[in-house]
Subunit: 343 residues, 4 copies
Amino acid sequence: MRMFRNDYSEGAAPQILQALIDSNAEQCVGYTEGDPHCEHARELIRNACGRDDVDVEFCIGGTSANIVGVTGLLRDWEGVICTPDAHINAHETGAIAACGRTVLPTRDTDGFVSVEEAERVWRVQTSTGRHMTLPAAIYISNTTELGGVWTAQRFDALCDWADDHNLPVYVDGARLGSALTSEENDLSLAHIAQRASAFTIGGTKCGLLFGEAMVIAHPRLKESFGYLIKERGGLMAKGRLLGVQFETAFSGGLYWKLAQHANQCACALRDALVSIGLKPYGSSSSNQQFFVMDNAMAEKVEEALGCERWLELDDKHRVMRFVCSWATTMADVTEAVSYIASL
Amino acid sequence: MRMFRNDYSEGAAPQILQALIDSNAEQCVGYTEGDPHCEHARELIRNACGRDDVDVEFCIGGTSANIVGVTGLLRDWEGVICTPDAHINAHETGAIAACGRTVLPTRDTDGFVSVEEAERVWRVQTSTGRHMTLPAAIYISNTTELGGVWTAQRFDALCDWADDHNLPVYVDGARLGSALTSEENDLSLAHIAQRASAFTIGGTKCGLLFGEAMVIAHPRLKESFGYLIKERGGLMAKGRLLGVQFETAFSGGLYWKLAQHANQCACALRDALVSIGLKPYGSSSSNQQFFVMDNAMAEKVEEALGCERWLELDDKHRVMRFVCSWATTMADVTEAVSYIASL
Amino acid sequence: MRMFRNDYSEGAAPQILQALIDSNAEQCVGYTEGDPHCEHARELIRNACGRDDVDVEFCIGGTSANIVGVTGLLRDWEGVICTPDAHINAHETGAIAACGRTVLPTRDTDGFVSVEEAERVWRVQTSTGRHMTLPAAIYISNTTELGGVWTAQRFDALCDWADDHNLPVYVDGARLGSALTSEENDLSLAHIAQRASAFTIGGTKCGLLFGEAMVIAHPRLKESFGYLIKERGGLMAKGRLLGVQFETAFSGGLYWKLAQHANQCACALRDALVSIGLKPYGSSSSNQQFFVMDNAMAEKVEEALGCERWLELDDKHRVMRFVCSWATTMADVTEAVSYIASL
Amino acid sequence: MRMFRNDYSEGAAPQILQALIDSNAEQCVGYTEGDPHCEHARELIRNACGRDDVDVEFCIGGTSANIVGVTGLLRDWEGVICTPDAHINAHETGAIAACGRTVLPTRDTDGFVSVEEAERVWRVQTSTGRHMTLPAAIYISNTTELGGVWTAQRFDALCDWADDHNLPVYVDGARLGSALTSEENDLSLAHIAQRASAFTIGGTKCGLLFGEAMVIAHPRLKESFGYLIKERGGLMAKGRLLGVQFETAFSGGLYWKLAQHANQCACALRDALVSIGLKPYGSSSSNQQFFVMDNAMAEKVEEALGCERWLELDDKHRVMRFVCSWATTMADVTEAVSYIASL
């Protein structure tokens, strides 16, 4: 049976792989600094964003992108507001602190930074002047860690608040494809590009072998990105690999098709599991689905389908995560549901 | 009227100042490296601790001490468990992150790290291996930020848990004098020295012009302290100033007398304010007292007595802090109480 | 004409690319944590090293590897001895300092750390105790930045000195393949594995799409690598990509064949250029060759063959670098020489 | 006999100590944030500088000041040009690297950053774009480590070059008093304040118990200082101690008188030692003097007068340092010379 462990268990989508094969014999300058593939990918992404005044850069992976993108917005004594479950707070081994900056978690529990909590953190942190870390950026991810999708209303409300406080908004788009093609979504890439100071377009979890593009509107990050990506060890020597993959992904809408496919599989899985009586944890229309199970079922699902334990709800129940990807098929979904139904 | 703003609003206790005057004409080697005053202070503190196998070092201030003491216990990817209101989390401008390490706050709201919360943080942080910051030390302060005093039972319970998890315990003793001379206290300096991996003995807030002593039992910190204190900018050129002050403070029990006096004034103030109907916030037997007041009274108290607003309880009430020191007199207390009673 | 710009201008060797194609449809766990390809590659590399007590890990690129490998050997106040032209000193944008550690360059001008200079740096840095950065590791690269190859005698002499001073030796093997297959070489992989505390086996510059393997013998780095690679943004989500490439490279000696081929092209180029009267700069038997040219010729060679200016010798002469790779052919060499001869 | 070991072997000048005694009973707000002594000292220093648009801040010591002053001028990937013997490069245990920034030493051997060397470092470091640390500040010290005094011509030449390259100049004035009162000096405090982006006025080595003032003209450092001084552990709780000392030092020219006295003693010592046939090392008109001695004499001088070995010239000769301070008397000088003459 196919694993539903995560979306980076897979290789590359065939079109991406083919592009790597086709370009393999070329000689290119390194470091994403002017090879034709990177330049073409930049142009395609700028077009998709509807802005030609943004910088488009390439990173080898999500943590590396977050390190450069977030710390490049912050001075030494500044911090970034995010949810407690934010990847930068909970799953990157203190990478922001390793660069000397502080993560300032809100108390939001649903994966979305709320205006109320952002405001609360802001007030606390600015209450005693220089004795506390100064909030200087907001980090959100779309989709959230729990598969949530930012609506335009929610996003704009946070961006409005951020503008009022002169805080840049950084969007971790490791699963941006899934977010923007979900049935709930009403945000466009152009809208995000208009309001976010910087955001990533995740490749690793959406059909590429690896790589994230970063769209940068903020002047400070434009200045800092080039140096930081090198200094922090994230600059790829054969930079064209990133260019080749992203130009392919952004030609003919491939990126969005791959993402939408994963969503469709995930939603089919969700609906089928609900129909056999399983209880979803939260509500997701993206490629990650979370379900409550008793421990016995959870263990079988973990073993047979590679699902990760997301949370221990109580002594007897766990939340299990199912992730679909470009490589998942509807047949895989059917097989998984049958298996679970048989337990 | 005397201000009750804080315990570092004052100069040095007369005996400390006299010792600085008396030794002023001496020539000494620098950097706390072997001058007779530092050596003597080391000996006195080791004796007071009942251990001759600990290192005793000197720091210029509390934040500098915490930077060296906490980060010297941690490797790059490690973090320190503490309460949310811990000085290192809330009032040192991200100083631990500035050294690349992570602060891991519990959810304790009373200023004490509880075993339950330490255990919870530990479990979360070790649940996904290297993808999360590894807890590698515990930071507590005695007294706590809210003036709380660690009992032997509470302290030992945490130390037992820490031992089981092989975690060093670091005690920020900026107000250790106040803690160990409070009426609630049943801990001895020797007991702390026996169980803590490192702790500070605060001078700034207990009658010295400035300076903290650090008692170090942990091998890693013994190795790292000497280099870190220099690298982090905390090594004093005229190191003998620290030696002179601490040898005076630890001769004839001066340090404890100064602390006890501050406690007595603070408890007298507390009892008097309670007797006129004011409501304490929490319970403190140390030199910091917290009282709930309506906004109008709070503003007058802030202006007349220099008290700091500690918390906004609701729209109409605030928590105000009163701090007594070696320099406060019972007459000061009486005058302050009369003033407040008149409001 | 083929560019001789560098060895990362190329794609992957066909066998490597094929292995990526062949494994593309597999599902694997992520992060190099136990997928069969990484495990197999680890086994092959351990065998090639003749040690089963070393850890074998994988990095996305050279700077990332150096960040983790070098800083993982150092405590906060420690530094690494290397040549002034060392990659970590001259071409990585202060990446070691960005992790809080210090680079301690010798005065060696030929790319090799000499015992004399290592000793001199050691003496200076340990002359005033904690007031100076403590040397705690040695960084060398094989080949050196100038294409030099470490002989067993030279390597052992430095390792002996390092052992006497209890300093780990870290070998940056970005071009280790080229070094160990050069005509001058008398070192074995097993010999390096026996004496180095850690070293990398470069893939990017030797036929892989990307990636470096790191062989770790030093206990401190064994402990720190797993966390540091994540914290510093260098842990690859689809870790199996590194495993697939390295298992292919270390099956049937492919890695060494690719490297040897590059050397042969480079030496043929060298000999041909010497025979037409050009003057080599330094002496190299590896895949990088350096030649002195007048400015006019240098500019043409830069334009036509993509060669990099390495050094401005004087107002009229430059040192130009020629780099061959697995993709260079003898026909490419002949064509390049003919072109240069025609100038 | 009086030691000539260094200028921080002494206590405070009597006037400074008296001011501390006189103000000891006052209650003041903390952290240099608005107490009357700090405000008064700021005003006096601004007046002495002839600029009212500079910020004047206070630091606890020289390394702490350099950490904040230098790294506050630099972004993460930037570096500071200085001489190899600069305090930040050679005697502060990698403090700049500990904040993630890079020190870029020139090859100047006389303690002065030359335009030629600054230009050379600049060219090298900007030759390959983001692959190298970007020079973004220049650090000089006046007096230099070897007691050298910057002339107006030399200083202006460097500042002109720095202006052309848009580089701020930071002056470490740990011994600025000695520099500006030396017989060679033709620089005024106002001149330095006009051209330097930031500079310190050293108290520790010029009659204070401790403390350095920093004059800040650069907008970036104005913004960053307040937060950095706290984050790096250098903010003094009883900030008024710094205010009291500096207002005394800058009242009635005391600071300059103390410095000049030390210079006069040092020059008398210098002339007397030359007259008995000893050879100076370099040329100094400030409070540090360096003399070449054979090893036997050097050891006696080290033991009897506390002089530090500065350099081992060859197997038989050393350079020894003699330092005079506000506390040295002409009688001390005479006694020391007699002793040396007797050897």
